[in-house]
Amino acid sequence: MTLPVLQVRNLSHDFGGLRAVRGYNLEIGSGQIRGLIGPNGAGKTTIFNLITGIYKPSEGEIFLGGKKIDGLPPHRIASLGVSRTFQNLLLWRHMTVLEHVKMARYSKIRYGWLGAFFGTSARHREEAGIEETALHLLDRMGIRHLADQVVLNLPYGAQRRVEIARALATEPGILLLDEPTAGMNPEELAQIMEIIRRVHGEFGMSILLIEHRMKVVMELCETVQTLDFGAVIAEGTPGEIQNNPRVIDAYLGRERAE
């Protein structure tokens, strides 16, 4: 039996007196795409923050490839292979696209102080290798031609791709995408869905996707969890979820559904 890439057991989190996540469970096998939907404030992003170590869970356990990661600092969890993007793009405005991807290689860079300063041949070789990998990745995201551009100047859709490229460059075992299509026009939407498909298909990446648009979830995800007030209220294939009365209640409000 192969271990799931990511396993979350009975995860709960409190903000003061507010229980933002309650008894959340998740298992993602290698190469699966799972969706996480729910109304605003349901706790979706909190779950991401718990998995990536930004918050420490009040209760529960998180395993990455069988290794317990809850309680570790964010940079350790990242090095172990959890990567993510953000709902509101968090890019380094005045750095170039290529620098973003290189930065993501940080924990893989081996050269030391001396090499960095005096340009030893080992450093040059490593640097060249990093650059090649980075450019290759940009190529597959369709933004290689933008490598030397400062991200501030790029259109929104391209910035989203930079963020995904940066997340992939850490060589994660699992990718967490937080509303990657937020604020996109139909054309950008089609492109980003194509990118996510490619990341899944070509890279064989396991993905956990937070998404608001049903269309995206329907097309991309194998199974979907619906979250409301911090708890999973429905789980199943996108088709099952869409017709689940509890999900309709959560999204549209009870009175209206009745």
Binding site: S83, W92, R166, T170
Partner: protein
């Protein structure tokens, strides 16, 4: 003309101290949005550490019967003192600022001022209320270049300062740590997700700034060999002005503004009575900031490390 050039030489030396100290202010500000108001006193501590290190090296070379040439003692003093002072900076960060990482910035600023006072009075308690003189390691040689007098010390001070500023620039541009520091200046929150240990990078930033302040302290000691515990206060404030003027977070800006401050002070003193020097010099700086509130290389409304 000779008078002008003479003042230019003096201004370059004077500006070197401001530039080196301003770099530390600027680096810390760019990642933490915090002015480390203890930084001027770290310059003072660095200078005193320099006295200790150089006296130890002189004693060591006398005791071991190895005659270290004086220039070598000076080089070793600069390097060792930079190393030791970087720990002072890291301790200040660990003890003073890290517990306040999520507190309002005003609390951190007040803490910085208090740390400064602790460093000053701590020095006073430790060494007593007397001035300490910096060991004279190299004899002054004066060169007459057509009426302009240049000393070997002035040349050394300016060259070492420029070299250190350049080294910092290279460090930030070429190394993975530098890249991480730059990224932190833009957005703090994502950086750990790239596998970067945030606290270690912040400590590194304080270490770098403090090491440069120590270098400034020793160079100052070489030029003006009388030290007192309060020597860092005015220098700290003026370097702070240089950091603002350079554009908060800009390495190039901080260096240039440090030198500009030196020029302004020296040239004002050339024209006006020297008692009015700071009044007039800083009125000019104020005027520049009125026109360009975000400094030379700063971005309006946000402070980012730009290279």
């Amino acid at each position: 003309m000779a008078v002008f050039l003479q003042n230019l030489v003096n201004a370059l030396q004077w500006g070197s101290f401001y530039a080196l100290i301003a770099l530390g202010y600027s680096m810390v500000y760019s990642i933490l949005m915090l002015f480390n108001f203890a930084h001027g006193d770290i310059f003072m501590v660095g200078s005193y550490i320099g006295v200790g290190v150089s006296m130890a090296l002189i004693a060591l070379s006398a005791w071991g019967n190895v005659v270290l040439p004086n220039w070598l003692i000076l080089v070793l003093t600069i390097l060792f003192s930079m190393f030791l002072t970087s720990f002072v900076g890291m301790i200040v960060e660990r003890v003073g600022y890290r517990p306040l990482r999520n507190a309002p910035r005003a609390s951190a600023a007040i803490t910085g001022l208090m740390i400064g006072i602790i460093l000053e009075t701590g020095n006073l308690a430790l060494l007593g209320a007397r001035r300490v003189s910096f060991p004279s390691l190299i004899a002054t040689a004066t060169y007459d270049l057509g009426g302009v007098f240049v000393t070997n010390k002035k040349i050394m001070i300016v060259l070492v300062s420029l070299l250190l500023a350049l080294a910092l620039h290279q460090f930030v541009r070429r190394t993975k740590w530098g890249m991480a520091i730059r990224a932190m200046a833009f957005d703090f929150s994502v950086v750990p997700l790239m596998g970067v240990p945030l606290n270690r990078m912040i400590a590194l930033t304080f270490a770098l700034g403090s090491a440069l302040a120590a270098a400034a302290g020793i160079l100052f000691g070489v030029a003006y060999p009388v030290l007192d515990p309060y020597m860092g206060i005015l220098f700290g404030w003026k370097a702070f002005v240089a950091a603002i003027l350079g554009g908060r977070g800009s390495i190039m800006g901080a260096t240039l503004a440090g030198f500009l401050l030196g020029f302004t002070e020296i040239f004002v003193a050339m024209i006006f009575p020297s008692t009015l020097r700071d009044l007039i010099a800083y009125s000019i700086i104020l005027l520049i900031l009125t026109v360009r509130p975000h400094g030379f290389f700063g971005e309006p409304y946000s402070a980012r490390l730009r290279l």
